[in-house]
């Protein structure tokens, strides 16, 4: 049976790993290559690197970090943040990433998803979605709106519509981040996750709000997510990945227990 994936997310800025609360007040918590190695050995099923400076400041993602990480770990990892075009995607994939995550650029230029899928295969193209809860309206019938720039800029695009459209364009997976839940450690946005996961045929990684193993249990059952992104709860050693998997396995969630 396919295991539910537990995926630590490493926010990277200036070549260092950080974790912000609602994308503000970032705290430096370490070297991304050492952390990648640590999580690989600790049982992470996949890793996500997100260059948080890239979107706002137009900085290039740190190819050097990707290359060094790829030499150290033998599980898939994706890289996102500031991916603007095919050449950015190619650079990241050739540096050793398995997948590339597009977010802002895909909203501004949806053809990038198709171009990426055609050039590298759908399985390489992850659609990153930053989503904010709003009052449902004619423009945003689902009550969830796409935002960019770390939540600062609402796009007037319905999240449910965009998820389906991205599948049509060739996205292979969705990493669904709730701006409302992100950094709170109070649990994932279950309604949003379930809505998107049930609407698309591709895997959905839930992101934002993980603070305890029960939150992962909720999002993998009620939220119907295929994978769960975690950050603070493991970055600060509150839990180990083994703790989380043990909790889930006892509740009959299929997880990878031997590594």
């Amino acid at each position: 049976m396919l295991s539910k994936r537990i995926i630590p997310c490493l926010d990277v800025r200036d070549g260092r790993t950080t974790k912000g609360i609602k994308f503000k007040n970032n705290v430096d918590i370490g070297d991304p290559v050492a952390m990648a190695r640590h999580y690989y050995e600790a049982g992470a099923d996949e890793l996500v690197f997100y260059d948080i400076t890239a979107s706002s400041n137009r900085r290039n993602i740190l190819i050097d970090v990707v290359r060094r990480v790829a030499a150290e770990i033998f599980i898939p990892f994706s890289v996102g943040g500031g991916i603007r075009n095919l050449s950015d995607m190619r650079e990241v994939l050739l540096a050793g990433a398995e997948k590339v995550s597009v977010n802002t650029a895909a909203i501004l230029e949806p053809a990038l998803i198709t171009a990426g899928a055609q050039a590298f295969g759908s399985q390489c193209v992850v659609l990153g979605m930053d989503v904010k809860r709003v009052t449902p309206s004619a423009a945003i019938p689902s009550g969830y709106e796409m935002v960019i720039h770390g939540g600062r800029t609402p796009m007037g695009i319905d999240a449910l519509w965009w998820a389906k459209e991205a599948v049509r364009l060739g996205a292979g997976e969705i990493c669904l981040n709730s701006i409302d839940a992100d950094g709170t450690q109070a649990g994932y946005e279950l309604t949003l996750t379930r809505m998107i996961s049930e609407a698309v045929p591709i895997p959905v990684i839930a992101s934002g709000g993980a603070g305890a193993p029960e939150h992962l249990h909720q999002v993998l059952t009620q939220g119907r997510a295929d994978a769960a992104l975690i950050a603070s709860m493991v970055h600060y050693d509150t839990y180990t990945i083994a703790d989380i998997k043990d909790y889930l396995a006892r509740r009959r969630i299929p997880v990878r227990l031997v590594w």
């Binding site: 099923d45 033998f74 295969g121 590594w259």
Partner: protein, 222 residues
């Protein structure tokens, strides 16, 4: 956790040429890096002459069967692979490379290499299950094989695919995986072995499989 025993193996056979076939079907970086972690330099090539000199061939790939076959034919790599197989060179197919070694693929209704009899079929999404089958899953090994030794029970391997190889002979199915029903995830015959999953992305057990392959003499299932 990486086992470096293979370094000794590699130095014992000095003339070994490990070739990774590049037919523009995806990223070969991770295969190269995995070999490097095992102390071995793989030679990435699209030149049939280089394949002809190989003592060991890795045939990876992701993407669509139709385009892959067209590229292989255009580069003359289809014949090179058939000759390597006939010569008894150990060959490891990975993902798309485990599919297009059969005679035919339902994907693009493509005529394939035909190293093994059989067809590549589409995964049918069962209730509540998604296709592509993406993530970690177990392999239930049905037969003993040198390439799949020293693996822990309960180990999982990384998959990303929408099609699976279905060899014509049951004896060619070395292992199966459950995703709304069991499908062949490890297959082999004579000096050819292939995995639907990605050993190069499957942690230390994946590296063990690559290490086993590097030491394998190409003999068929035990």
């Amino acid at each position: 956790m990486i086992n470096f025993n293979v370094i000794a193996t590699a130095s014992q056979c000095k003339e070994s040429v490990i070739v990774i076939i590049d037919y523009q079907a995806g990223n070969l970086t991770s295969v190269v890096r995995s070999l490097k972690a095992l102390g071995v330099e793989g030679k990435v090539t699209r030149d049939p002459a280089v394949v002809a000199g190989a003592t060991r061939v890795i045939f990876p790939g992701v993407g669509a069967a139709g385009k892959a076959m067209a590229t292989l034919r255009e580069l003359g790599l289809d014949q090179a692979l058939r000759r390597s197989f006939a010569r008894g060179v150990p060959i490891l197919g990975i993902c798309l490379g485990a599919q297009i070694i059969l005679e035919h693929s339902e994907e693009n209704q493509a005529a394939c290499l035909g190293l093994l009899p059989g067809r590549t079929r589409a995964l049918m999404p069962a209730e509540g299950l998604k296709v592509p089958h993406m993530g970690w899953n177990q392999v239930r090994f049905l037969r003993k094989h040198q390439v799949f030794k020293n693996l822990s029970a309960g180990a999982e391997y990384y998959f990303v695919h929408s099609y699976y190889p279905a060899p014509a002979q049951a004896s060619m199915v070395l292992g199966v995986t459950d995703h709304g029903g069991e499908f062949p995830s490890a297959i082999g015959w004579r000096n050819l072995v292939a995995t639907q999953f990605h050993p190069e992305k499957s942690g230390r057990f994946g590296l063990t499989i690559l290490e086993n392959f590097l030491a394998w003499d190409g003999a068929d299932v035990e």
